[in-house]
């Protein structure tokens, strides 16, 4: 039986691979289709495919970058070296030591190159975790193109001079949780645990907490195809998955913090299930429908709200035409009744703006759309939240 199911998986992967290659051969390349494949179970399957598809997901195809010179004289060089030099555990254990040294050298150059190309970007601890993922999957040259694009888009807010934007994005977690499990949110609030436990998840795209490089790569397939806020939706699903453990025991900050902190580190984390649930939750509760609650939480809990909530929301909100409810889990218990109006509103809005969205989804998708969504988002926001 086991052999049979293994064979079934193999043949499914073979046909998926063929379909991906077909989408790549289309003129023009079918990027929407590639996104679907990247989100669907098992993602892009292997790094040969990733090296071909990721550039389309980030719209770096046929782009060229002049490699900057003298990157080691960058002001952050010492700091980057400190982190790179102790990053050994992130590399596959079977790699010979001199290969790891070589990769670490490439890693330093990769990071400093992007920082040199974009003086407005600030290095943060954890950024190098993301860079390692790309380096291992795509090699140094392609990684520079991809990480360069990623840094000025998906990761841009994390690379501000301060963490204000990052903290704000973290607060989206609470309203997402609240839609599915208000009791849990009440418990978390009572424990005063905050949202810091998820900061490493968010700013490293989970490469800091997942042990397995192939899991990280599969998750990147998903995130690269989605709205930059998707890692937060994913975080919410991890928390929801562990809700009973969180709520069993004393409602005390350090205990709850520890449970939450460790919840993403379980070796048996059901990635595909979480990806599916995150997609569902994004469709049902798009960022615009959460913005107000997130802002409220931010104000209540931090009191130093120097950040323009509205601008952030507008920047991140996107009509992602690819993301659809995958519905591969029959036991899916989404509260359909309650969300129905939101979905229909969203859907109808999407239909109206679909042409525009499709036109740009061939570009960086989510992120590029965002710039053009500044105009229409506010109205939509009001529509959904009377």
């Amino acid at each position: 039986k086991l052999t049979m199911s293994k064979n079934a998986v193999k043949s499914r992967h073979r046909s998926k691979e063929a379909a991906i290659l077909k989408a790549l051969c289309k003129v023009p390349v079918d990027v929407v289709q590639l996104r679907k494949f990247a989100i669907a179970p098992d993602g892009l399957l292997n790094n040969d495919i990733r090296r071909q598809v990721w550039p389309y997901l980030l719209n770096t195809v046929r782009q060229e970058l002049d490699k900057p010179q003298n990157v080691r004289s960058h002001r952050e060089c010492q700091q980057v070296l400190l982190d790179v030099n102790r990053s050994g555990k992130r590399f596959p254990p079977d790699l010979p030591e001199d290969r790891i040294t070589e990769l670490q050298d490439q890693l330093t150059d990769l990071i400093l190159s992007v920082l040199t190309l974009h003086p407005e970007l600030n290095y943060y601890q954890g950024y190098h975790d993301i860079c390692i993922t790309f380096l291992l999957a795509c090699g140094p040259d392609l990684s520079l193109l991809l990480v360069d694009r990623l840094s000025t888009h998906h990761l841009r807010d994390f690379m501000d001079p301060t963490m204000n934007s990052t903290t704000h994005i973290l607060n989206y977690l609470i309203p997402i949780l609240n839609k599915s499990n208000p009791e849990l949110v009440e418990y978390i609030a009572k424990s005063e645990v905050g949202t810091t436990f998820a900061i490493s998840w968010l700013i490293t795209w989970y490469s800091y907490v997942l042990r397995n490089q192939s899991d990280i790569e599969r998750l990147y397939d998903f995130f690269l195809s989605c709205n930059p806020l998707m890692p937060i939706y994913f975080a919410a699903q991890i928390v929801l998955l562990n809700s009973s453990q969180i709520m069993t025991g004393e409602c005390e900050m350090s205990r709850v913090y520890q449970v939450l902190l460790q919840s993403a580190r379980q070796p048996t984390l059901p990635l595909e299930y979480l990806i599916s649930k995150s997609s569902d939750s994004f469709i049902l509760f798009p960022p615009s429908s959460l913005a107000r609650e997130a802002a409220q939480y931010y104000k209540n809990n931090l009191a130093v709200s120097t950040f323009c909530d509205y601008a952030l929301v507008a920047r991140h909100e996107t009509p992602d035409v690819v993301l659809r409810r995958r519905g591969i889990y029959p036991d899916d218990k989404l509260p359909k009744k309650q969300e129905a109006p939101v979905v229909s509103l969203k859907q109808s809005y999407w239909n109206a703006s679909r042409t525009a969205a499709l036109a740009v989804s061939g570009a960086v998708g989510a992120v590029v759309v965002a710039a053009s969504s500044l105009d229409w988002l506010p109205d939509f926001d009001l529509l959904v939240l009377p």
């Binding site: 700091q79 400190l82 982190d83 030099n85 102790r86 990053s87 050994g88 555990k89 992130r90 600030n122 943060y124 601890q125 954890g126 001079p161 301060t162 963490m163 204000n164 903290t167 905050g194 810091t196 436990f197 900061i199 490493s200 700013i203 490293t204 800091y208 350090s254 913090y257 520890q258 902190l261």
Partner: protein, 213 residues
Amino acid sequence: DMGVGKSCLLHQFTEKKFMADCPHTIGVEFGTRIIEVSGQKIKLQIWDTAGQERFRAVTRSYYRGAAGALMVYDITRRSTYNHLSSWLTDARNLTNPNTVKFSINKYTITGEQYRVMKEIPAVIWSHMVPVQVVAELTVSTVGNTGTSPVPLESSTRTAGVLSLEDILSLGKTDNSSDSGEEDVIFLIGNKGDLDAQRDVTYEEAKQFADENG
């Protein structure tokens, strides 16, 4: 500051093992150890904060309610020592001033100073049980040498296992603490085995500790 060995110290305290290639900390991590003191079991919680400056805004909220603090610098990097006063300011300002009378007690601890330290007639322990019960704090090496810490007694080098129980016994003779409301801050000069690359002397670190109470 980043890379001084905070997480490595915590790991040794909770796991009793040296961790080579100890990775960076993002945000705040957390470790516990249950220790028995005078027949009472006490759960010690240690919050391990990220060292990079930009995380400070995030980690600050975890100072609240602390019974004590360990401030760590790297004896081979002067910049990490120079930043101590700003960390100290945070530690003073962010713990709860209403319930805690904050007094700074001092130790610059590296393996080599172990014996010296025992002779310091210091003002240390009051009733800070959670800190008193730190049974042993291994001052270790991280990074360059990659060597494991060696108990002081068996080592001619400076890395050593430091028994804080010895400090505890010092504390028992201390009669200058009055109210039992004092927090304790340790100053730890880490990476004592890298003495050849030493950039901060014990004397100046001790002076810093003295100047700050």
